[in-house]
Structures are given as C-alpha cells and as structure tokens.
C-alpha cells in the first residue's frame, strides 16, 4: 500500500488548498472593538454604555424594544417575539460571531432600528449600544 494519497485525494487536497487561498481575502476579520471605533469616529463623541443599555431596553414609543427579541441582558439565547425562533446571544463575550462584519452589523441595525425606533439609528446610538454590550462579560 502506497504511503502517498491516491491521485483523487491529492487532487481534492489541491482544490481545497486553492479554495482556502482564494477565500482568504473574503474573510472579514473585524473585531467588535474595531466596529465600535468606526461608529465612535462617525459620531465624534465618546460612547456611553449606560445610555446604550437604556436605548436597548426602551420601546421608543413603538411596539418593541431591542430586548423584546434579544432579552434585557443579551448574554443568553433570545427568542423572536413574533416567530419564536431562537436568536443567539448578542453580547460578543458570549457569541464570538457577533460584531465581526461591518456589512452584517449595518444590515441588522438598519432593519431593527426601523422596527424598534421607526427610523435608522445614529452612529452615536450604535456606538452606545455596542459599548454596553462589550461590558457584558
């Protein structure tokens, strides 16, 4: 029995290696701190975690708050208030996928702020919320 992999396995490995090289530039390796920094710069003011918490748990004269689906302290799995679908923890310390891709963060802020606040959130509001989420350990 040969110690070398069969030609098909070798070919598969070659394809996988190429795919990895090709995919590398597409991976968004941002951190939640970097994303917070972007909003802090846009806002031009320092974020305030306690203001973020208040923003997160308030209903803003509408039907829902952020915590309606994410929970008052989003360190655990939340539940969509309408569909019942489970939602992974939002605090980065409890879910390492959170706040690692600017486009994804922007998409969800856009949608959810429209639902909760009835408008898009300002960079300062986004920075406040993320700064509070980063205090949850």
């Amino acid at each position: 029995m040969s110690i070398f992999p069969s030609p098909s396995v070798t070919r598969l490995l070659q394809v996988l290696a190429l795919a990895l090289v090709a995919a590398a530039p597409c991976v968004h390796a941002e951190t939640s701190e970097q994303i917070l920094d972007q909003y802090r710069t846009q806002a031009g003011t320092a974020p305030d975690p306690s203001r973020g918490q208040q923003f997160f748990t308030s209903k803003h004269d509408h039907e829902w708050s952020c915590s309606s689906c994410h929970g008052d302290k989003p360190v655990q799995t939340g539940k969509h208030v309408v569909t019942g679908k489970s939602i992974g923890p939002l605090a980065p310390a409890f879910n390492q996928e959170r706040f690692t891709n600017t486009a994804k963060v922007e998409k969800w802020f856009r949608r959810n702020c429209n639902d909760v606040v009835g408008r898009e959130c300002t960079p300062a509001e986004k920075a406040d919320v993320i700064s509070w989420l980063l205090t949850l350990k």
Partner: protein, 174 residues
C-alpha cells in the same frame, strides 16, 4: 409463401419483444418515479438549500421551503422585504436577485398552487387541508405560539422533512 410466413413471424416476434422490453422498462421507470415521489412526498429538500437563503431567510424564522408558495407570491415577498409581515427585513438588490434565482425554479408544480391571501403559507388551501386534524386549542398553546412556527411540532422541519411521522405536538394530542 413459407418464407414470407417465417418473415412475418420473425417481425411480429421482434415487435412483441420490443413492446415487452419497452413496457417493462416503462413500468420500472414508473416504479422508480413512484418510489422517488414517495420518498420525497414530505421531503422538501429535493434541491440542496442555498446557504444564502438559509442565512438571510432563516434568521428570524425557519427557512420555509420554496415549494410551499407559488411563484407570484414569492416574487412579491422577495421584492418587498422592507415591509415583511410587519418587520423591516430589507436586503440589497444583488441578494434579492440571487435568492429569487434559487427560489423560482422550485415553485414549478404540475398543478400550480393558488396564491394564498397575503401570500401567507399558513393561509394556503393545502396548509389548511394538511392541518385539518389539529384542534384550534393546540394552535393557541404558548409553545406553538404561531402557525408559522413549524419546528415546534414538525421536529425535522429544519432538515426539510415535514412528514407526519415526525410530528410531536407539545402538550400532546392532535
């Protein structure tokens, strides 16, 4: 005369053999098709799920199988994600296009589905028929929450299997 007779016999025999072969292969094909149909009767995952569909349409609710709605309903849904059943689920145009390209071919039923009111799966005629045994009280149980919450009872729905063999109603009963 005898030669012509022989020839006729031979041609008839060949025709018969051909007919038997053709019929039996047709029967086999039908059998295969039947088996296939049976296997997939409640398996909505005949096409592998598009990761983008799972990601974008499976975040707030289960990624509903495209076969559950007709093309017209899907077209309206994916092109109006900003007002998506009371929430903003807006998507960029490129994502909408890619989703639509994957969804639409799966909506080609032999008998096209009628478009349900509000383009809601749960208001489709087939949905009502399939759930006619479910008592009204079951729908209002807190664990069920909403008829749109398939996975509560269809425990294999996430895998695309809605067979009644895999129905577990919380609190029991039908």
């Amino acid at each position: 005369m005898s030669r012509r007779f022989n020839c006729t016999i031979r041609v008839a025999g060949a025709c018969l053999a051909f007919a038997i072969t053709a019929l039996s292969s047709l029967a086999l094909a039908e059998d295969e098709e039947h088996k296939h149909e049976h296997k997939h009767k409640n398996d909505m995952r005949s096409v592998p799920i598009l990761p983008l569909y799972q990601q974008e349409c499976g975040a707030c609710h289960i990624a509903y199988p495209p076969q559950m709605l007709p093309a017209g309903s899907w077209h309206r849904i994916v092109n109006n994600m900003k007002q998506h059943y009371g929430t903003d689920a807006s998507l960029d145009a490129a994502t909408v296009k890619e989703l639509e390209q994957w969804i639409m071919p799966q909506t080609n039923h032999a008998r096209p589905l009628p478009e349900p009111p509000e383009d809601r799966i749960t208001r489709s005629e087939w949905f009502t028929r399939a759930h006619h045994e479910v008592a009204a009280a079951v729908w209002s149980r807190p664990e069920v929450k909403s008829a749109a919450n398939c996975t509560t009872c269809h425990v294999t729905a996430e895998q695309g299997n809605y067979s009644e063999h895999y129905v577990r109603i919380p609190g029991g009963g039908t």
